[in-house]
C-alpha cells in the first residue's frame, strides 16, 4: 500500500496538521476551498473590493517625526493598521475567511478571541456578509476586555464565556475546536492568527500579507529604499507574518518580532516563546508543531501579559521556522515597557496604540536610540488602544500623571539584552 509521505503546511520542521480525526475531513475541505479561492480571479477581485470599500485599505504609512526626534534621529514609520475598520489588522483575515466560508456554502462562523479584536473583526465581517457568528472568549479576557464583548454583541454575535483552564485565549481555541468538530458541515472555524493545523497558518499569512505588500510599496515611495528594520508584535503572530512576508527575500531588512515579556522572563510570568530565555520547548498545541511554553511533563503552561492579545503559550509555526533559520529575530518587551511605550507614542504622535502594538513600539524606541540617524525602522501598528484605556487607567501610579517616558528609562528591559526585573507599579486587574 502506498502512503502519502508529503505532509503539507510545513515551515522548516514546524507546522503540520496535528488534529483529531474528527477535524481531518473539515481541514482537508478547507484546504481545497482555499486553493480554489486563491486561484479564482473573480474571488480575489471581490476580496480586493471588500478590503478597499469596507476595511478602508490601503492603510496609511505615517512618518513619526516627533517620535523619531525624541529617539535621536532614527526615522520611524508606522504602518497604520489601527486605522483599518474595527481598529486592528484582524479584519483583513476575517473578511477573507468570511468570503471563503460563503464560497463553501457555510452560513455560520465561529471564532476564538483573546483581546477581543479578532472577535470584533469576525462579528463585523459576519454581520456585513449575513453569516451567523459565535465567538468563544475566556472569562478572564471577557473581564479585561469588557468593551469588546459589548461591541461583538452589538454586531449580533453570540459571545460564549470559556471557564476551563486558564480562561484565556488558549482555552477559547480549545472550545472553538470542539464546536467545529461537531458542527463542521455547516460551520467555518475562522481562526484568528497564523496558528493551528494546516491550512490555517498559510491562509492567515496570505490574508495578512496585504500589510507587508502595502508597507513595502509605501516606504519605497517615501524613502526610495527599503527599511533597515521591520518590527511587529507577536502573539500568535498574524500581524507580524503579514508584515514580514513582504521582506523575507530582502536580506538587508532585519525582521524583529516582539513577544510579551510580562513581568520579566525569569519571573515565569510572561508569554515569550522565541525570545532567548523564554524557556519554551518544541511541542504540539492546537494542531501545530511549534515552540510552546510547557512544563517538564508536556503540560501547557499558563502565560501572562498585560495585553490579552499576546497572552498565548504557543507561537505561529512560521515564526518558529524564521527564528530557527535565523531570518527573523525575536525579543521580549515587558508589561511595564509596553505601558511606557504607549505613553510615548500618545504624547509624541497623538496615537493611542493597542497594548499589543505598544510592545513593538517599545522595541523600536529602544533600538532606535542605538541605531541613530540615517536608519529607517518600519513598525507595524497593529491596532488602536481604545479597548485598553481601562487597563491603562488602572495601571497608573496612584497619584496619577504619566509614567516616566521610555526614552529616559535607561538600558534595560529586553530579553537577550539586559532584562528588567522591576515589578509593575501596582496590580493591573482591578476586579
Amino acid at each position: 500500500m502506498k502512503m502519502r509521505r508529503v505532509v503539507p503546511g510545513r515551515f522548516a520542521d514546524f507546522g503540520g496538521r496535528y488534529a483529531p480525526e474528527t477535524l481531518m475531513g473539515p481541514l482537508m475541505e478547507l484546504e481545497e476551498a482555499w486553493e480554489s479561492f486563491r486561484a479564482d480571479r473573480a474571488a480575489q477581485a471581490e476580496l480586493g473590493r471588500w478590503l478597499k470599500d469596507f476595511v478602508g485599505r490601503p492603510t496609511p504609512l505615517t512618518r513619526a517625526d516627533r517620535l523619531s526626534a525624541a529617539l535621536g534621529g532614527v526615522r520611524i514609520y508606522l504602518k497604520r493598521e489601527d486605522l483599518a475598520h474595527t481598529g486592528a489588522h484582524k479584519i483583513n483575515n476575517t473578511v477573507g475567511q468570511c468570503l471563503l466560508a460563503r464560497r463553501m456554502g457555510k452560513r455560520r462562523v465561529i471564532a476564538e478571541t483573546g483581546a477581543g479584536q479578532h472577535g470584533v473583526a469576525t462579528a463585523t465581517a459576519a454581520a456585513a456578509m449575513g453569516l451567523e457568528c459565535r465567538v468563544y472568549m475566556g472569562e478572564t479576557d471577557m473581564e479585561r476586555q469588557a468593551l469588546n464583548v459589548f461591541r461583538m454583541r452589538l454586531l449580533g454575535a453570540e459571545v460564549v464565556p470559556v471557564s476551563s483552564g486558564s480562561r484565556t485565549l488558549k482555552d477559547a481555541v480549545n472550545e472553538a475546536l470542539r464546536d467545529w468538530a461537531a458542527s463542521a458541515p455547516r460551520t467555518h472555524y475562522l481562526l484568528g492568527s497564523a496558528l493551528g493545523p494546516h491550512p490555517f497558518p498559510t491562509i492567515v499569512r496570505e490574508l495578512q500579507s496585504v500589510i507587508g505588500r502595502e508597507a513595502r510599496a509605501q516606504i519605497l515611495a517615501a524613502e526610495g529604499r527599503l527599511p533597515d528594520l521591520a518590527v511587529a508584535c507577536v502573539g500568535g503572530g498574524s500581524n507580524a507574518i503579514g508584515l514580514f512576508s513582504a521582506f523575507i527575500a530582502d536580506a538587508g531588512v532585519a525582521l524583529v518580532g516582539v513577544e510579551a515579556g510580562g513581568e520579566g522572563l525569569s519571573s515565569g510570568r510572561h508569554a515569550a516563546r522565541l525570545a532567548p530565555g523564554s524557556g519554551a520547548a518544541p511541542g504540539v498545541l492546537h494542531g501545530t508543531f511549534t515552540l510552546l511554553l510547557q512544563d517538564a511533563h508536556g503540560q501547557v503552561k499558563e502565560t501572562h501579559s498585560v495585553s490579552a492579545g499576546l497572552d498565548y503559550p504557543a507561537v505561529g509555526p512560521e515564526h518558529a521556522a524564521l527564528a530557527a533559520v535565523g531570518r527573523a529575530r525575536y525579543v521580549a518587551a515587558s508589561d511595564e515597557e509596553a505601558l511606557r511605550a504607549f505613553d510615548l507614542l500618545a504624547r509624541t504622535e497623538g496615537i493611542l496604540p493597542a497594548l499589543e502594538s505598544a510592545h513593538a513600539v517599545a522595541y523600536a524606541a529602544r533600538l532606535g536610540r542605538k541605531l541613530g540617524a540615517g536608519k529607517t525602522v518600519l513598525v507595524n501598528l497593529s491596532g488602536r488602544g481604545d479597548k485598553d484605556i481601562e487597563i491603562i487607567r488602572n495601571s497608573r501610579p496612584p497619584r496619577g500623571g504619566a509614567r516616566k517616558p521610555l526614552i529616559l528609562s535607561g538600558e534595560r528591559g529586553f530579553s537577550g539584552e539586559k532584562v528588567s526585573m522591576k515589578k509593575p507599579p501596582r496590580k493591573r486587574r482591578s476586579g
Partner: protein, 285 residues
C-alpha cells in the same frame, strides 16, 4: 496475545468490552483500584486516558477529569510507573493509553515507546496525531512491539481509510459521532451503515466509541452483523466472522461515576456499571 488478537478473539462470542477512565482521577493510587474493579468486572481491554491541559477532543466530563488528575500531580511518567506497579500485582488485562501527543513528545517518542513496553502497555491511541504525521511514532512503537490505534470518524474521507488501516496495528477506533467524547442518549441512525462501509475498507478489528454510554447501546452494537441481513450465526468462529463491531468503548459514563462519588464508592459503582455492560453485550466467556 496482541491487541488485534484480543479484539478478534472468537471464543468470547461478543465484542471486547473496553472501559475508559482517566489516569490520576482523582489520584494515581485510586487508578490502580479502579483498574482492579474494571478487570474484575470482565473488561477485555482498558483504555487509560493520559490527562492533558488542553484536551480539544474531549467533552466536559473528560475535561474535568483531566483537570482533577493534573491537579493531583499526575504525569505521564507517573502513569507508566503506576501501570507497571499494577502489572506487578499480577494483573493481565491489556491496557491502551489514550493520549494527546504532546506529553509523549516531551518525554521523547523513543523513550516513551520503551517505557510503555516496560510498563506492560499493549497499545497507544494518539488522539491528535493523524497517521499522516505519525511516521516516527509508528516506528518507535513497532520497534517496542507496542500496538498503535488510530481513529476514523464519520467525516473521514474513504480515500484515507487505507492509510488509517495500515497505521493501526492494534485496532481502528471509530468515533461514533461528530464532535468530542461524551455521552449520547441515542446513537446515530446511520451508525450501522457507516460501520459496514468502514468494514469494507478496513481489515483490522474495529472498536466503536464516542457517545456510547448505556448497556442498551453496547448491546445494540454487539448485535450488529457484518451484513445487514445476516442471521444470528450463533457463537464461536462463525459469530466472530459475522460480527461487525470488535470492541465497544465506554468512557464518559464511567468517568462521571468517578466524578460524582467518593473514590471507594466509585470503585464499587465502576465494577457494577462495567458488569452491567458486559452482561448486556452477551456476558462473560
Amino acid at each position: 496475545m496482541d491487541l488485534e488478537g484480543i479484539l478478534r478473539d472468537a471464543r468470547r462470542g461478543r465484542p471486547a468490552f473496553i472501559p475508559y477512565i482517566t489516569a490520576g482521577d482523582p489520584t494515581l493510587e485510586w487508578t490502580g483500584r479502579f483498574l482492579d474493579a474494571l478487570a474484575e468486572a470482565g473488561a477485555d481491554v482498558v483504555e487509560l486516558g493520559v490527562p492533558f491541559s488542553d484536551p480539544v477532543a474531549d467533552g466536559p466530563v473528560n475535561q474535568r477529569a483531566a483537570e482533577r488528575a493534573l491537579g493531583s500531580g499526575t504525569t505521564l511518567a507517573g502513569i507508566l510507573d503506576a501501570v507497571a506497579a499494577w502489572r506487578r500485582r499480577g494483573r493481565k488485562t491489556p491496557i491502551v493509553l489514550f493520549t494527546y501527543i504532546n506529553p509523549p513528545l516531551r518525554m521523547g517518542l523513543g523513550r516513551f515507546a520503551e517505557r510503555c513496553r516496560d510498563a506492560g502497555i499493549q497499545g497507544v491511541l494518539p488522539v491528535d496525531l493523524p497517521p499522516e504525521e505519525a511516521g516516527e511514532f509508528r516506528r518507535v512503537l513497532a520497534a517496542a512491539r507496542v500496538g498503535a490505534v488510530f481513529l476514523a470518524s464519520p467525516t473521514t474521507a474513504v480515500a484515507r481509510l487505507p492509510l488509517i488501516a495500515e497505521a493501526a496495528t492494534g485496532f481502528v477506533y471509530y468515533a461514533a459521532r461528530l464532535g468530542v467524547t461524551g455521552e449520547s442518549r441515542t446513537l446515530s441512525a446511520s451508525l450501522a451503515r457507516e460501520l459496514r462501509a468502514l468494514k469494507r475498507h478496513v481489515r483490522r478489528p474495529i472498536a466503536v466509541g464516542f457517545g456510547i454510554s448505556t448497556p442498551a447501546q453496547a448491546a445494540f452494537l454487539s448485535r450488529l452483523k457484518r451484513h445487514a441481513r445476516a442471521r444470528n450465526a450463533g457463537r464461536g468462529q462463525a459469530a466472530a466472522a459475522g460480527r461487525l463491531v470488535d470492541g465497544v468503548v465506554v468512557g464518559s459514563a464511567l468517568v462521571r461515576i468517578v466524578e460524582e462519588h467518593p473514590p471507594r464508592e466509585a470503585a464499587r459503582l465502576l465494577r457494577k456499571a462495567a458488569d452491567a455492560m458486559v452482561r448486556a453485550m452477551g456476558g462473560r466467556e
